[in-house]
């Protein structure tokens, strides 16, 4: 566990830079996280990120690609279009949530 400074304040992150404190996140910070990984946020991106935040608040776990489709209503194809190559990781990174459990 370490800290880093983003959007002018100190935040807690894990070894890969994923936020570890749900409440340290806001949309200004999300914008900066998106910039870091080269994602230009559009209203569609924000819809996905807001779904992830709300779902996490309810379940205590980061939604998987399947759940973002089944429960959030964002088709997997769209998730790949919005967050290329690794949608699961990129969505959760921007949403300030842990990586979805890879389920060993």
């Amino acid at each position: 566990m370490s800290t880093t400074t983003l959007a002018g304040r100190e935040i807690h992150v894990d070894a890969e830079g994923f936020l570890t404190e749900y409440d340290e996140w806001d949309e200004t910070l999300a914008q900066q996280l998106a910039d870091q990984i080269g994602i230009a946020m559009t209203p569609e991106h924000w819809d996905v990120v807001r779904f992830l935040r709300a779902d996490y608040a309810e379940t205590g776990q980061t939604a998987t690609t399947r759940r973002v489709n089944a429960v959030g209503g964002f088709p997997v194809k769209q998730q790949f279009a919005l967050f290329p190559k690794k949608p699961g990781k990129k969505m959760s990174y921007i949403a300030g949530l842990p990586k979805p459990a890879g389920c060993v």
């Binding site: 399947r66 290329p84 190559k85 990781k89 389920c103 060993v104």
Partner: protein, 410 residues
């Protein structure tokens, strides 16, 4: 008389029935187990059957022979659970009431979830996660004289997540022994970012694949199988061609779990990670692959869960609080070919690490390293499974993972 109902007579359900029958007073408790199959499979054999290294009929036994006296076995398909009424409806119309319910109906492959996958099933598209699939693949591999073999995982989580890797390593060994390895291209295609989920093991396994000239296609989320052109296509439009596809289809929990409103989007049952108790229905528990807990879906995990759960259950029914103690412990042998195997030991918080097991420095089983001892360990496990693990007799392994003997790489 209180009623405990166990759904599913696979590894987890059978161990639960045996242990709980011994722990619960026969005068106070009626225990019933619903067996949907009638046959108990030694599932580790499914990995060896395709290579002709295991006689298929040895992998099956009558499930009834493994259920103890004092437990009523009902063979039927499950329609749904009514968690409010505390009843389970069977497809034949019978209704079984319960006071406590243990869901142990496992995980199963669903090729129909991926467009095209079923179109050439047991043609050029195969799997080894059911008895019939393993037997069909044995014939296909025997006929395979060269070309592109693609070993593929559709989506996590899957049952026995190291098995696709083992299959790949054993395929390399199989073709080498047949003298045709130079005529076979092997590609390992995975939705994960590497050969395994956890970094230290992923690097070790990745190195083993590279040494054997096996290509890895990571971050591949399958959209469809094009059986005409013989290629798999990802959501981000990558294509991997095959002559023989050995896939692990999407794994789902039992459909009745979803119909009963007790499951997640894959019909696995969300339960407390340490007590395996359902949050909304405290009289319902899930064990084995059926449980949505972030550790491997594997027989070893079912075993370690059931080192902890039965005693907890006794506390709960006595009106005491459960002791939160399942730690996600998993131990897996990984066959790597040429008579050797690796061993990994891990839990929710600690990834697989190198070291010695079970006795620090002495072993005899090295962790995360190929060894003949591990291969013998895997072979020696089979009689232990039937005679000790299923009947719920104690094994000389601690329920909780230990850091003793493990080395944390700098």
């Amino acid at each position: 008389m209180r009623r405990l109902l166990i759904l599913g007579a696979g590894t987890a359900g059978t161990i639960a029935a045996n242990k709980l029958r011994r722990l619960l007073d026969a005068d106070d408790w009626q225990i019933t187990i619903v067996d949907q199959r009638g046959t108990h499979y030694y599932q580790p054999a499914f990995l060896f059957i395709p290579f002709g290294r295991y006689r298929p009929d040895k992998a099956r036994r009558k499930a009834a022979s493994l259920i103890p006296d004092g437990v009523t076995r009902v063979q039927a398909q499950i329609d749904r659970v009514d968690a409010e009424a505390r009843t389970v409806a069977l497809e034949d119309g019978r209704v079984l009431p319960y006071d406590y319910l243990v869901i142990a109906t496992g995980a199963s492959p669903h090729p129909e979830e991926t467009p095209g996958m079923e179109d050439d099933w047991h043609g050029a598209v195969h799997s080894f996660y059911t008895f019939d699939d393993a037997v069909a693949l044995r014939a296909a591999l025997a006929d395979f004289a060269g070309g592109r073999l693609v070993v593929h995982i559709s989506e996590m989580p899957i049952k026995c997540p190291v098995a696709p890797l083992e299959f790949t390593l054993l395929a390399d060994d199989h073709f080498t022994r047949r003298g045709i390895r130079d005529r076979v291209d092997i590609t390992f295609v995975t939705p994960l970012s590497g050969a395994f989920t956890k970094p230290v093991a992923s690097a070790a396994f990745g190195g083993m694949l590279a040494e054997r000239g096996i290509a890895v296609e990571p971050d591949f989320m399958i959209e469809s199988v094009d059986t005409e052109a013989r290629r798999i296509v990802s959501f981000d439009e990558r294509e991997v061609p095959y002559d023989l596809l050995v896939t692990v289809p999407v794994n789902r929990g039992a459909a009745f779990v979803g119909r009963s409103g007790l499951g997640d989007e894959l019909d696995f049952v969300p339960v407390d990670h340490h007590t395996l108790r359902h949050a909304a229905h405290p009289e319902i528990f899930a064990v084995g692959d059926a449980a949505a807990v972030p550790t491997s879906k594997a027989g070893a995990v079912a075993h370690f869960e059931l080192d902890v759960f039965p005693e907890n259950f006794v506390r709960i029914v006595a009106g005491e609080e459960p002791v939160a103690s399942f730690d996600g412990h998993a131990t897996c042998f990984i066959e790597s070919g040429a008579g050797k195997a690796m061993l990994i030991d891990f839990n929710y918080d600690t990834e697989p690490l190198p070291g010695m097991f079970p006795v620090p420095a002495v072993g005899p089983l090295p962790l995360l390293k190929e060894s003949r001892f591990n291969h013998w360990g895997k072979l020696a496990f089979e009689p232990v499974y039937w005679s000790m693990l299923l009947p719920g007799r104690p094994l000389p392994l601690p329920a909780q993972m230990s850091m003793r003997g493990k080395r944390v790489p700098a």
